[in-house]
Amino acid sequence: MSFFLVLPLFVLSQTTPEPLINSVFSGTVTDSKTHAPLEGATVQLKGTTHQVFTDNHGKFYFKTGQKLPAELVVSYVGYETLETTAPGNGVEISLVQSSTHLTEVVVVGYGTQRRTDLTGSVASVSKSLLSQPATSFDNLLQGSVPGISVTQSSGQPGATSTIRVRGGNSISFGNDPLYVIDGFIIYNNNSYVNTGAANGPAINALSTINPSDIESIDILKDASATAIYGSHGANGVVIITTKRGKKGGTEISYSTYLGDQTVAKKLSLLNASQWGALVNDINVSDGKPKTYSDSALAALGAGSDWQSAALRNAFQQNHELSISGGDEKSRYLISGNYYDQNGIILNSGFKRYNGRINYERNVTDKFKISTNIFGSRSIVNAPFGGVYGNTTSAAPSGGFSSILFTSPAAPIKNADGTYNTTSALLSATNPIQDLLTTVNQTYITRVLANIAGEYKFTKDLTLKVTAGADLISSKQNYYSPNFAGSPAGSSTGYAAGGYAAVGNGTATTWLNENTLTYDHTFNEKHSLNVLAGYTTQAEHDETAVASAQKFTNNLTTFNNLASAGTANLPASNSHDQVLNSFLARVSYSYLHKYNVTVSERADGASQLGANNKWGYFPSIGLSWNVDKEDFFERFSNAVTSLKVRLTAGQTGNSNIPAYSSLPSLTPTNYYFGSPQTLSTGLSPNQLGNPDLKWETTTQYNGGVDVGLLHNRINFTFDAYYKKTTDLLLNVPLPLYTGYATKLENIGSVENKGIEIGLNTQNIANKHFSWTSAVVFALNRNKVLSLEPGVASYFPTAPTGLVSPVIVKVGLPVGSFWGYSTGGLLTQTDIDKGTPLLAGVSQQVGDRKYLPLNPGETVITTADKHYLGSAQPKFTASFSNTFNYDGFDLGFFLSGAYGNKLFNQLQQNLERPTLTTNAPTTELDRYSATNPNGSMPKATNAPVTQVTDRYVEDASYIKLKNISLGYTFAGSVLSKIHATKLRVYVSAQNLFTITKYKGFDPEASYYDIDNTKAGIDYGIYPSAKTFLAGLNVTF
């Protein structure tokens, strides 16, 4: 990058040495490209310990007199350190941004490491991505680095995401990565905030964290990097470092954005007269008279658009203020944030208040203490509706999805403006009114605080002790008024006469980490870093839920359960879990050329079986910086850096709930007596397994990091193989045993893949620059074995339908299983004896099922076969940033190829009944006048088979973000006394190119359940958002 170095003119012009005594020596440090002042840069007199920092105008002052010219060493994070000779006062020193990653320090488990010495696969999320507006930081991870895949469960603000690093290892449990926030380990457990009082999709515990507090995110992917986290490293580790103060003056920053969201896509449903015609056809097939005469059909007209009535334009705003600074001994940052996002579905939204303090102080030369504290309160208003739908009905009971099913012939409102509840086509309640009046809210209060003390016994030997706590408290409120159709226990608010539930949950995690680090370089050749530690973590959680029904009025809603007529049985729950660990790591580097890292962790987890509490997780990593070899010099013009990495290791997973290994009993009641009274029974509901142990993932990784043309092109390639054995598998038992499953260590899964990351600086000159990044990842997941003698099983789809998914040896987890179809049956087909589906009466105009093998006479379940998987063949993203003077333009495209979704919502909609609406695909149904239709004839008979029609290609390309910003020049800034001011407009989720018919090709109705990934049973539709914002720093 040296050719971009702008050397200050006066450095070159030689002046006579001129001794100056007792006068001030000052200068400015600026960015070589933008000439913007750099605040907090270190200016050191070479050969002395005397150093000062630049202020917010980039100015530095040496108050004691110096001999000139002075030899200075100027350094600043993210810039190349410069040694220069300052001839006199008023010198401008321009620093060049370091584009090479190799001199960087990266955060690794329990410490940092020079990127050159790294053996493991560690990827950092780019700063430009992190600066995008988002509800929760997990929204920012998609496409950020190769090998991480993020699928939002739904478009609901504050909803959970499914996050996978290098595919899913486990079938039944724990595929989420481990999060480490400022050194504090977080097992994200969304059940901590979901007490069961409210319903609907789970609330995301990660959304309690303000994404703009985050300075950096590093993702540890291979065993060499993650094995130090042992039993929780198998799914990758996401290391989050929050922003902190820098040495220098006080900096005050304010940023804000305002946005407007609209639904990205609506489903195309029948209008009233189209629907009436469908009802008539069903009547005819039922042998009953038509419901609507021709004139009545015409009179129905377009009818009501229920879907649109449930949606709105939604406003969104974010404000944050931070103050930071520091001196030689202390650094601090204090920030506050208010975030408010209305949902595009009526009566839904997300709000967050957030505060953070980071502080560190060098108490003495040897003792440093630091603390990170954040507190937040989040409020989620979600549309009601069970995430798994109603177990006893195939129609989704969700507040929004039930609206899609509502007949367009039913008016939404009466003439007087009140909601219509009397239409024969409604079940006594109005779904829009249900949505508006049902309270379904979650309040989450979270405090995450830790204190660390570091004591340097010698220059090389440091003891670090950390104590921290993560306190999560949640309150959930639910009220279904006595006129609403929203769920109320096993019935509806209408049925229950009003139903209220309140739930409280608290989860407390204590963590103590004690590590000893020895870091020494011998003879300037042998760099040795040794880490040893003991950590212990205890988690305690409690929930209590109370509910009552039969309210004489709806005035006090959930706030006065005592005013109810009937109390339901309250519930409470509590768990304790402990993890104790010993860890050790040795990193050795010879000349920063040959590097080796060896680590070992021993973990003991309370929730495992009595006979197998402890697990041991070793790893080894080797890397070679080829560019540092002498023979490489001749290539160095073209190839700036080249590194080869090779690692192997084992990590674990014990992410099962407490008490999973114990044979436990559950209450089961009955009534006896006259009058009847409740009699409490107790019976086993879980088989014990004292041998329950760790799930182990063995991973091999090979990688190359290449920097070309003075690191204008950086290329990273990784290939890996992971095999997970002793799976913690809920082994399905025959139901006649009295138990549905038993938790055992059985079976194995493999993941293998390649990852490519490419960062290029296409153009870089004084006025214009253009950078691009490409991320590509390919993962192949396969079940290698299940319990002996069992080749496959169907995870129970709790919706009461034929399960569309299968877990089968040789197929990926999350595979779809069903029939192939080929249009509709014709008379010719039947005449020539085309095989028909067994057990179902099939006639002309019905769906034609295809046999697996030619010559079959009947289609049976043996003709079901693999129809694809929710796991993509590959994922990719492409981002670009253009800078022209003060303007910046960026866009970010992300996509996946080859992933399938089971469009269960469409399957349900395309099964017409006399009362529910259907999609416009039904217009092309078979009839005597439309014998070549694509949809079967309308009947009242049920044939709900899993077919290829509903396993849809969900490959997509999404423009996740496009933004245009302008950063004001110094002259404008000085007028408002600011150091930085940027204004921008951006659009998120502007378009999606996909063949998928549902709301969004990124859907995960069953949330984090790996075996049911890719079932779309009607999600909260996603929004496209237009934002305008500004960031200003004083």
């Binding site: 177990t391 044979p663 139901l735």
Partner: protein, 518 residues
């Protein structure tokens, strides 16, 4: 400065050490009861048996309870008495209303599961109570009584299973006590052996008390065991043993050989067999208990979700009658108005609302009229009768007819007693001089009228076997005449398919004839 930093460091370390010094890996099960802590006292034994009864009126996952609708789907919805409602959106339920179900049908699977879960709970009770020392029981008769109650429940559930599925795995010990491994690869036990176990369990259960104290009403009695045993023998066409058991239940002095001293009798009004106020009366030999207003963990049944509004356009959620069943009643028969309704009083308007559409009349027996008709009916507190005394009388008539090559005077008396009650005390005697075949027909017709919605019809149609006039199973003939079911029904339907998941998890299980691949 140096000193203070050392002190600071030490105090910091000490504090951190204290906070986290004693994190043990042993589990503290705060919120669950672990098996090793349990099955030690009489209260534990009682609770274990209560759990077995629970399988009759609840589902652990909140699904339809066995006797609150789940079984009804298989034996009433898939018969000539009921159809699925046009507004029902559950394809599996609809399949059971159109005889197009397959082995993956979740309702068939759920019935299988609920029966076996109940059997599992009964086995847990039987296995564990045996190990509780007798001195734990203040009343030493309690220990054997509890075991016999569990055996009664187990026998009832196996009796349903063997009739629904034929040969079934016979599991007599629970996986939590014996380990699950040996259960994984079992084969289906021939139904004759299953019946032997049912008979053995019920025979032991006949030693149960004839009556209970008021706090224990609803538990299985010795009379209930005899009654169920009679039904088992009748199903096996073991008429002699059936007669012997019936004579134990039929109140002494009413028929020749009757020695029953359980006080069983018909309630004067047919309606009272399905009222909350008259539940567990002299006619109710054994019932699944349902209650309203107990708030805490109230049971719900789904047999009477018949009106959620007075909107006549809204279809009842699930249970509608087939038009053929309404036509078998004449208007003097009180069972017609007890079994069906078309008119409901609307307290909000003070008007009677008449439901009249292609799918009416609606089914009435389990409607709880003590609840406001404005509210839905799933907390209905009407008990579900599993055996009523009228069935004993009809079985007696049937057995007499079978044993004697034609109806005896007692056979006529028995069936006419049931009929007279149905016609509100006005004698409507069956024509005399019927042949054995015609009398059999008459008995089954009477059973159809008497037991609408009571989980009998499909069993009755299957039990009759092949109709000599058509050569088809009676079941097929009966369903052929119903438009929605005619296309799907076939001889294979006289047994339900073994649920697909069971064969998947245990390939040793064979499928029933005609069901392979369905």
């Amino acid at each position: 400065m140096k000193k203070s930093s050392l002190i600071l460091t030490i105090s910091f370390l000490t504090a951190a050490g204290i906070i986290t010094s004693c994190n043990k890996l042993t589990e503290k099960p705060n919120s669950v009861v672990v098996a090793s802590q349990y099955y030690k006292t009489a209260a534990d034994a009682t609770a274990a048996v209560t759990a077995a009864y629970n399988s009759l009126n609840s589902d652990p996952a909140g699904d339809f309870p066995m006797y609150g609708r789940q079984l009804n789907l298989l034996v009433d919805n898939n018969s000539d008495n009921q159809n699925f409602s046009p507004s029902n959106t559950n394809p599996d339920v609809r399949a059971l209303g159109t005889a197009t179900y397959v082995s993956a049908n979740s309702r068939i699977q759920k019935n299988w599961q609920q029966h076996y879960y109940g059997i599992s709970k009964a086995n847990v009770a039987i296995d564990n109570i045996a190990n509780i020392p007798l001195n734990q029981f203040a009343d030493t008769s309690l220990k054997p009584r509890l075991v016999r109650e569990a055996k009664f429940v187990r026998a009832l559930l196996y009796f349903n299973l063997v009739r629904l599925f034929g040969d079934v795995p016979l599991i007599l010990h629970d996986a939590s006590t014996t380990g699950v491994t040996q259960l994984l690869a079992v084969k289906r036990t021939p139904k004759d052996s299953v019946y032997l176990q049912i008979i053995a369990d019920l025979t032991d259960a006949t030693n149960l008390p004839a009556t209970y104290s008021s706090a224990n009403i609803g538990r299985a009695t010795g009379g209930a065991a005899h009654a169920l045993l009679a039904k088992v023998y009748a199903t096996r066409r073991d008429w002699t043993n059936a007669l012997a058991e019936l004579q134990q239940v039929i109140t002494a002095g009413t028929f020749a050989g009757a020695t029953g001293n359980y006080g069983y009798a018909l309630l004067p009004n047919f309606k009272d067999a399905f009222q909350k106020a008259t539940k567990n009366g002299p006619e109710h030999i054994f019932s699944a208990q349902f209650a309203t207003g107990l708030g805490a963990a109230n049971t719900t049944q789904f047999l009477s979700q018949s009106f959620t509004s007075f909107n006549t356009g809204v279809f009842p959620i699930d249970c509608i009658s087939d038009s053929s069943v309404v036509q078998i009643f004449d208007n003097d028969d009180t069972r017609k108005s007890v079994s069906f309704y078309t008119t409901v009083y609307n307290p909000a308007t003070g008007a009677n609302v008449v439901f009249n559409n292609a799918y009416t009349p609606y089914l009435n027996k389990f409607v709880d009229y003590s609840l406001s008709p404005l509210a839905p009916q799933n907390p209905s507190g009407v008990n579900y009768p599993i055996i009523r005394y009228s069935e004993i009388l009809l079985l007696y008539a049937e057995v007499q007819n079978e044993l004697n090559g034609g109806p005896t005077a007692d056979a006529y008396t028995a069936i006419n007693t049931v009929r007279t009650r149905a016609y509100a005390g006005v004698p409507h005697y069956l024509a005399l001089g019927l042949s054995q075949f015609d009398f059999r027909d008459a008995v089954f017709l009477e059973r159809r009228k008497e037991f609408i919605q009571e989980g009998q019809r499909w069993f009755d149609l299957v039990r009759r076997g092949i109709n000599p006039n058509t050569g088809n199973p009676y079941l097929v003939d009966a369903l052929k005449v119903i438009a929605a079911k005619s296309a799907g029904i076939a001889a294979k339907d006289t047994l339900y398919p073994i649920p697909q998941v069971e064969i998947q998890t245990n390939p040793n299980l064979t499928q029933n004839p005609g069901w392979d691949g369905h």
